[in-house]
Amino acid sequence: MNIKATNLHLAYGSDAVLHDINFEINEPKIYGLLGRNGAGKTSLLSIIGSFREATSGQLHINGEEPFENARIMQEVILMYDKDFTGETDPPSNIIEHIKRYRPHFDLEYAMELLKKFKLEGKKPVAKLSKGKQSAFNVVVGLASRSPITIFDEVYLGMDAPARDLFYKELLKDQELHPRIIILSTHLVSEMDYLFDEVIIINEGKILLQEPYDDIVSRGVTVVGSKQSVDTFAAGKEILNEEQLGDTRSVTIYGETSEADRLSALELGLTIGPVSLQDLFIQLTKEED
């Protein structure tokens, strides 16, 4: 499968939420879509999921417009924090019904997941707790095995053990059935290890799209005495600084050369990788 956005633009009335979005996704990998609240994550995903049309520009999936395209729409699933008010059926019944419309749905796997997330009872979904409802969304998303599977912050309502179970299941199932999985989130530090590739969206624009390893090698964290760190960091782009007593930690943006590493060693500094969270915060920081 391939997703390609060309000059994608979306406005709600006069309020533009996506500006000139261009990106391409080709491989069955896990993509992290990061953005602050209101950055346009959900709007972008809702166009991919055929929930709405773009105002202008194009979004193509396998070279075709997905909106009202029966073949493409069957292959794409967008799970979000859904309102289940009035849903009188228990999870197991709903799943059997969804299976009728999802060509790759694995009912056995779905039942197994319902058990793992403790959703196998006969309680109507509307009466389940928020966390359980989120877990149910996760089950549907995983078991549908759609070639394009999107989770738009569905995991926010789940507690830490449930989220952990989701991450494990996601990695396990992705290995057996590779597909394009897009996870939108702002729980960056918790989920960064899941991402093969990261797309950061800010104020309706794509800020960057890079493999996870490349992004985290875009910077380093340097820890040591205040003076040594300042000497080392002089003239470099500093993303973040922290200080405790005489110990200073600085996150530096940009490639570090071999010479830099040597001089750090001479200054007695410790060099570590930069966290995606730090990069994300710095890159999407509002100008004062």
Partner: protein, 256 residues
């Protein structure tokens, strides 16, 4: 590659789920009807009694049916397949409901005749509406409640057909109102309620012309329509309603 055609599956599923709701509704109508038989002397047949209730029931489930749009798009079904599926399902439901009501009515009559002396009546609903002539609100309300009725014993097919026609139009206007509120805003939603009332009043007036029943005074200007044109105008009204629903849902954004 050909596009998969999902609407037959959608039709079947939507017909089935709404039919299960209908069993519940008919059950409730039956309880009320039986209650009346115990409590009073002059009671309508189940068929005649469900005539009024079923219209309102269809209006309500028509309004709710817009929720299926979200459900199907979320499950990768196009708005078009949802639309076609629900047109077929609602038409099927409109045909089946009168037959069920008639069968229940027959069984009820048989049992009552066998065990009691209670006689049920099939009233002519149009005869009740005489004393409020000229009051437009009253007449609109009555056109909702007292759709033209034909006694099944005089012409069973015409009676069932007319029952189905009313149910189908009530469902469609409910769906139209639901779609307008979903796609547009409250102001337009209310505007579409007015359009829906107009559709019902117009359809009823046309049927009154066809059946030689006098028109309500407020709609008497419609009597210039030749009797032979009335059926065609009913069909056109239904088609316009269906087209409006499609236009409202065709490109509707799903609310998240």
């Amino acid at each position: 590659m050909n596009q998969p055609k999902l609407f037959p599956k959608v039709s079947f599923d939507l017909f089935w789920v709404q039919l299960t709701w209908t069993f519940w509704a008919l059950g409730i109508f039956l309880v009320i009807n039986l209650g009346k038989i115990i409590l009073s002397e002059h009671v309508d047949t189940f068929y005649a009694a469900s005539y009024v209730g079923a219209n309102i029931y269809m209006l309500v489930i028509g309004i709710i049916s817009i929720a299926f749009l979200t459900y199907y798009v979320e499950n990768g079904v196009t708005r078009k397949d949802y639309f076609l599926g629900n047109v077929v399902a609602s038409l099927g439901l409109s045909i089946v409901l009168p037959i069920l009501a008639y069968l229940i009515s027959l069984i009820e009559k048989l049992i009552l005749n066998f065990f009691t002396h209670i006689v049920l009546t099939d009233p002519k609903l149009d005869e009740i509406a005489i004393d409020i002539d000229g009051n437009i609100i009253g007449e609109i309300l009555l056109s909702f409640l007292l759709t033209p009725f034909i006694n099944p014993e005089s012409n069973i097919l015409l009676s069932l057909g007319l029952f189905s026609l009313h149910l189908f139009v009530f469902y469609l206007v409910g769906w139209l109102i639901g779609a307008a509120f979903y796609r547009l805003n409250v102001v337009f939603g209310i505007l579409f309620i007015a359009i829906a009332i107009g559709i019902i009043a117009f359809k009823d007036s046309m049927i009154r012309l066809m059946l030689d029943i006098p028109l309500f005074e407020s709609f008497s200007t419609l009597d210039f329509v030749p009797k032979g044109f009335a059926p065609a105008l009913v069909v056109v009204t239904i088609l316009i309603t269906i087209i409006l629903i499609r236009q409202l849902t065709k490109r509707a954004a799903i609310k998240m």
